[in-house]
């Protein structure tokens, strides 16, 4: 399974990256291919290309604020998650993503 996602918190300094790390770690542990884009206060990093978005089985948007280039994900299989949940309840977020694929 291929999972891509975006993380973004209001301050864009810490939570954005903690959420990225947590999601990547949990996905890898389950043997999924994963790429998480971060939209912190520095801007977009680890950017997802349109191909990567198209190839993904599910897209996790763990965001508390408006994100850039949201139109990339239009019509796709999207899981809207809370950025804090991605850090503290990572497993259940990925569980929910898995359910969307099935």
């Amino acid at each position: 399974m291929k999972i891509v996602g975006v993380t973004a918190c209001p301050t864009g300094v810490a939570h954005t990256y903690m959420a990225q790390e947590a999601l990547e770690k949990e996905c890898r542990r389950r043997g999924y291919e994963v790429k998480i884009e971060t939209q912190g206060s520095i801007g977009v990093e680890n950017e997802l290309s349109q191909e990567e978005v198209d190839e993904a089985d599910v897209i996790i948007l763990a965001v508390a604020i408006l994100i850039e280039n949201e139109e990339r994900f239009e019509g796709k299989n999207i899981l809207n998650a809370d950025v804090n949940d991605a850090i503290t309840k990572t497993a259940s977020v990925i569980d929910a993503a898995e359910k969307l694929v099935k």
């Binding site: 209001p10 301050t11 604020i65 408006l66």
Partner: protein, 350 residues
């Protein structure tokens, strides 16, 4: 009910986006302003900066602070309507944060900017949804949406929103004048509440005008109370992040450090991002803390001869020990209340 919840969620996202984009302007402006003010000479009309280099820093800092409200309003609208909302939101944020024409009392600060930001967002989104012929569609985003959004929200603001705000403010001023004759402690509570209510906004500026007017009469007490309360919200929030780490996420804790420094320099605005994020917990805490600080200042007969606040005016304050104690105790009260009101993030996460 679900729709309403969705609406609230969208509002929260909009406000958080506005704050997120505003923060760099507050820090850039606030820090340059604080550095330049630290070199100021105290005079009867305020801190006067004589050094030419520092004067330039002051100009840069002031510009940063002037941009924070328009940026916030712009990105609130951007969050709701996308790109077409941005420019109208910024324009209206600027209007909300500056006096309308010669009527210097009509300035609604960050609360007004939140209202116009949301209004611009929804109006722009609404126009975006119009069914128009293909030929018109091309000019919608560059011509129709920005001009009509500013036109509609601007007129509603000028004719409907701005006036009650100014009326409210003259009401506050009248209230303050009556209070002074009756009871000093009551006045202290009022000053504390009003200053921490909008943190450097129009209500604060009203209190500031009132204390300045009294200074002209040679009464420096109310100004002393007021200059104590200026420092309390940001320092109190900083203390709360130190004392109750588990109530704040890492981002908030980092942000609070900058706010604490700004508080010592007498710049309340550092607390605004916290207030916008969680006003029903932050405002009561800062208002009560500021009131406690003002009461201590009133009891200790603190007097301040300059229209600026925070620890940097300490050399010119009378009854300095009371002044310092008032700021510290007021901040501590704010911190304790925040620790009590804020949920424990670690517990919540389990």
């Amino acid at each position: 009910m679900d729709n309403f919840k969705k609406f609230l969620k969208e509002m929260q996202k909009a406000f958080l986006s506005g704050v997120s984009f505003m923060i760099p302007a507050v820090t850039a402006g606030g820090i340059l302003l604080a550095v330049s003010l630290s070199t100021g000479t105290k005079t009867a009309t305020g801190l006067v900066i004589t050094n030419a280099f520092m004067k330039n820093l002051n100009i840069l800092g002031t510009a940063g602070m002037a941009m924070m409200i328009p940026i916030m309003a712009g990105y609130i609208a951007y969050s709701i309507a996308g790109k077409p909302g941005l420019a109208p939101g910024m324009i209206m944020g600027y209007i909300a944060n500056n006096p309308l024409g010669k009527a210097a009392t009509t300035k609604s600060g960050f609360l007004g900017a939140m209202i116009v930001g949301v209004a611009c967002g929804f109006v722009a989104k609404w126009i975006k949804g119009w069914k128009v012929p293909k030929t018109v569609k091309a000019i919608m985003p560059i011509l129709i949406i920005p001009s009509i959004t500013v036109f509609i929200v601007g007129l509603v603001y000028i004719y409907l929103i701005a006036t009650p705000v100014s009326a409210l403010m003259s009401g506050f001023t009248a209230c303050l004048k009556n209070l002074n004759g009756t009871n000093k402690i009551f006045l202290a509570i009022a000053i504390g509440f009003m200053n921490a209510f909008d943190m450097g906004g129009p209500v604060t500026k009203t209190v500031s005008m009132f204390t300045l007017a009294l200074m002209n009469e040679g009464i420096f007490g109310p100004n002393g109370m007021f200059r104590i309360t200026v420092a309390i919200p940001p320092i109190g929030i900083f203390l709360a992040t130190v004392l109750f780490k588990n109530r704040f996420n890492q981002g908030d804790r980092d942000l609070a450090k900058a706010a604490g420094i700004m508080g010592c320099m007498g710049i309340t605005e550092g607390a605004i991002p916290f207030a916008v994020n969680d006003f029903k917990r932050v405002l009561p805490s800062t208002m009560i803390g500021a009131a406690v600080g003002a009461i201590i200042g009133a009891i200790g007969n603190v007097q301040a001869p300059v229209p600026h606040g925070g620890f940097i005016i300490l050399p010119v304050v009378t009854n300095r020990v009371w002044f310092v104690a008032a700021i510290l105790i007021g901040s501590l009260v704010t911190a304790l209340l925040l620790g009590f009101l804020k949920p424990n993030l670690e517990k919540e996460g389990q």
